[in-house]
Amino acid sequence: MKDIRIKNVTKIYSGAAGERAVDDVSLDVEAGEFFFLLGSSGCGKTTLLRMIAGLTAPTAGRIVLGGRDVTDLPANKRNTAMVFQNYALWPHMTVMRNVEFGPRMRGVAKGPRRAAATRMLEMVQMAGYAKRKPAQLSGGQQQRVALARALAADPDCLLLDEPLSNLDARLRMQMRSELRHLVKSTGATAIYVTHDQTEAMSMADRIAVMDAGKIHQIGTPQDVYNQPATRFVADFLGEGNFVDGRVAVAGPTLAIDTPVGRLLAKAGAGVSVGDAVTCCVRPERAVIRTDQSQVSSEETAVLPAQVEASLFLGDVAQVCCRMKNADLWKVTILGVSTSAIAAEGRHVSVLVPASDVIII
């Protein structure tokens, strides 16, 4: 179990007009942590992963694994193991030979390494497939063999590059809990790269949200969801209704004047009267009332709106409301019959509790 320290790592590709794929990124992953790099395509997360593995060389910065500076070490001397997005199982070798490759490279004798490989295959429930070739396996089976291969190498650090992205939706959901359980049971430090925020939220100990080569925020899933540091993070994880405003009244509860109405929010550090702020309200936190006589209380802001459309999504319903300044806000209601709440064109009140307004 080793920790990983990334210090000011930058990657510039010489061809692409000085474009920084990874821009001065620093982060610390604790030993045994299941750490996620989350971002959309092209944000640099896979590049960062490959630099940790040693498959790509950083332009600047240092990478320290378990106290050892590995920046100049070739990939095969770093004791990391990567699960590739397309699995990269060797087609001319059986499943067993694939899985025992890592131990073989380290000089483990045939008996012990076969036993270790078999143990790993049993852990991923692929023990009966030892003599098959990768071409004879389904996508889900290949993915498990790829994981077994990486784990069999007994790495200090496990690196996973979107390992579930090639699986169908149902299998993906099944594999999430299995994967986390497997990784945690081996105690390996793991870095997982994905663009799927549900995956990150459901599996991670901590998440680093990346965009355009930079890290926007690092925190637990709750932290990044409930207290997003930037608009990008607030928008990337879950949905948000955003509006810019100015602080009118300071105190234990802030009052913010915005084009949709006066919002109330809990006081934040360093925010004073006259500051320009961006407010974010999660759709599931707002409440719709058809009763027009609502007035703002000390803890809840009431915003006038008109229902534009409503979507029935099965477990929830999403109501689109046209606000005072013609912005469209989304409000999510749990599976109540929408006709009871919001016929199109109806005038409603959107209630926003102060505790549910996020200041960015």
Binding site: A57, A60, A75, N76, A88
Partner: protein, 582 residues
């Protein structure tokens, strides 16, 4: 953002820098070797055409380009090449279209059989022409049997009138598989949705073909056509055996062989080279470029129509018939080799194994076979080593200069074999420091080098294609799990490209066994003759059984060829088709 280039990660990383330096060094070494064996000889040969009485001059070049005799040869050569190319297109296109659009039993086997003529050199098949076309030959015998020829009158001598046509047909029958492969590939790359959209909007099948499919197919036609044209333009083997000499390359050959090669001859070499290069560049860049722009992957499923029993039988006749026709000249050679008396009849009147035995008993013929094996195996080994390393450097490393290496290793495609041979003659001529490895001393080195250089583009291309099909992530996974870079190459990549390597080896070996231009020109002492030169000598010896003996040698050569393919089939199994990926 600053305009300065970012600091290279290589400078901070010793092992990576060492690896990069090493691969750059190897690239430079290969480039130098290719420059020495390819560029320098050609420059030397061409340069000799620009010297008049010791001073640089355009005199000979002008003289050749304005002389009616040489212009006549040039024109003949162009007409011959055009005719051979057109004929091969006419044969190949319908076959490719049927193969692409129809489904019938046995189509796989028939498709592969169609490619057999690629490895049967027309040089050998040409030996049948004399028996076939002469006054007492097979054609006349058939015509008499059919009652088309009057027995009493003098039989026409087709050889005299028909040698141009014979050369053309022989070349077309050898080259049409290249067109077939190119057209098939072009058709496979055309999205069926295009033709289906045309049909949907009212066009008949025929109209859709001519207005949509054919134009899209054109780049593939041109790409294949250029290769075929250049080959037919610069071929000397077939015309020499058939006996048709009014062609530019044949004239150059004869002058070079008579050691009367003056500046005039080398000026002719320049003209030929110029023509071939222009054609190659046109084929690659003018037509090749549009091929890349227009090819698209299929977006809808390709609907091949299933042929009924009559149509399927028709397809069999067509495919089978063309294959039989292409193989016929070589069958003729086999018959010739085992025939006793064969005059005025369709088949030999009696058979004998005497010629076959004579060849094995005769020390010089036996020697020629051994020579060919020596030359061929050495050049195959060199090609695999150099071609493999070159392909690796080009595809898998970031070495400096690998673009140059790529271009240089493809260059022999544009240079007709005869011109390279002329260059080697010039390099090892009397009085030069390389005289000791010249054709009159010990041509082993230049023959092996010539074979290797000529075949290098195919080896590099074949192995590169294999490498490109092995995703880099497979090597990275091995490297990540503890294998060294070299270990990953040995354990992962090389096993996965073994089919490409074997295919390349087989093709290189068989080519070298039956190579014509370099062999004819660079082996001038009898002890050093390879099979093809010995065949040529026998065919022109003029003694009663010499043509039979030449045919017997041809038979042995084809048997060796067949053996090579059989070995390849055993090694490759189902991947045998890799051999014919041009």
């Amino acid at each position: 953002m600053t305009a300065a280039s970012p600091p290279s990660p290589l400078l901070n990383n010793r092992p990576r820098r060492r690896a990069w330096l090493f691969s750059t060094f190897v690239t430079a070494a290969l480039v130098a070797a290719l420059a020495a064996t390819l560029i320098w000889p050609i420059v030397l040969a061409v340069g000799k055409g620009f010297i008049d009485e010791g001073r640089p001059s355009l005199y000979w070049l002008r003289s050749v380009m304005t002389s009616p005799e040489y212009l006549g040869y040039m024109w003949n050569s162009i007409v011959l090449a055009a005719a051979a190319t057109s004929l091969s297109i006419l044969i190949a296109v319908p076959l490719a279209m049927i193969r692409a659009n129809c489904r019938f039993p046995g189509q796989g086997v028939l498709g592969m059989l169609l490619l057999v003529p690629l490895i049967l050199p027309p040089f050998v098949g040409a030996m049948s022409t004399e028996r076939f076309l002469s006054q007492d030959g097979v054609l006349n015998a058939i015509l008499m049997r059919l009652g088309l020829l009057d027995v009493s009158s003098r039989n026409p001598d087709w050889l005299q009138r028909g040698s141009f046509a014979a050369v053309c047909v022989l070349q077309a029958l050898h080259l049409f598989p290249i067109m077939y492969l190119n057209v098939s590939a072009a058709l496979a790359n055309i999205d069926p949705a295009y033709a289906q959209a045309a049909r949907n909007l009212g066009a008949s099948r025929r109209r859709a073909f001519f207005r949509v499919t054919l134009p899209l197919m054109r780049p593939g036609l041109f790409a294949g056509g250029t290769i075929v044209f250049i080959w037919a333009l610069t071929d000397i083997g077939t015309p020499l055996i058939v006996g048709y000499r009014q062609l530019l390359p044949v004239q150059i050959f004869q002058r070079l062989m008579m050691a009367k090669a003056g500046a005039e001859t080398y000026a002719m070499v320049t003209v030929m080279l110029g023509g071939a290069v222009v054609l190659y560049v046109m084929g690659k860049f003018v037509f090749g470029r549009s091929l890349r722009a227009e090819s698209s992957k299929a977006s809808v499923a390709h609907e091949a129509s299933r042929l009924g029993p009559c149509a399927a039988a028709g397809a069999w006749v067509l495919f089978g018939g063309v294959t039989v026709l292409a193989v016929l000249p070589h069958v003729g050679v086999v018959l010739r080799a085992v025939s006793g008396r064969w005059i005025g009849t369709i088949l030999p009147s009696d058979y004998t194994l005497a010629h076959l035995k004579e060849v094995l008993a005769s020390p010089q013929s036996y020697n020629a076979i051994i020579n060919s094996l020596r030359y061929a195996s050495t050049s195959t080994a060199i090609d695999l080593a150099i071609g493999g390393v070159a392909a690796w450097l080009i595809i898998r490393t970031k070495a400096r200069g690998r673009g140059l290496l790529d271009s240089l290793s493809m260059l022999p495609l544009a240079v007709p074999g005869m011109i390279l041979a002329a260059g080697y003659l010039a390099v090892t001529a009397k009085g030069t420091w390389l005289e000791s490895i010249g054709p009159r001393a010990n041509p082993f080195v230049i023959l092996v080098v010539a074979y290797s250089v000529r075949r290098l583009p195919f080896v590099v291309r074949g192995i590169s294609a294999g490498l490109q099909q092995v995703p880099l992530s497979l090597e990275e996974a091995a490297h990540n799990l503890g294998s060294s870079r070299a270990g990953a190459a040995m354990r992962i990549t090389i096993p996965l490209i073994s089919a490409s390597v074997i295919a390349a080896a087989v093709l290189t070996f068989s080519f070298a066994m039956l190579e014509v231009s370099d062999s004819l020109m660079l082996a001038q002492l009898q002890n050093d003759y390879p099979i093809t030169k010995e065949i040529y000598q026998q065919a022109h010896a003029g003694t009663p059984d010499s043509l039979n003996r030449a045919a017997a040698m041809g038979l042995y050569a084809m048997a060796l060829l067949g053996g090579t393919i059989a070995v390849a089939a055993a090694l490759l199994g189902r991947k045998l088709g890799a051999i014919f990926r041009v």
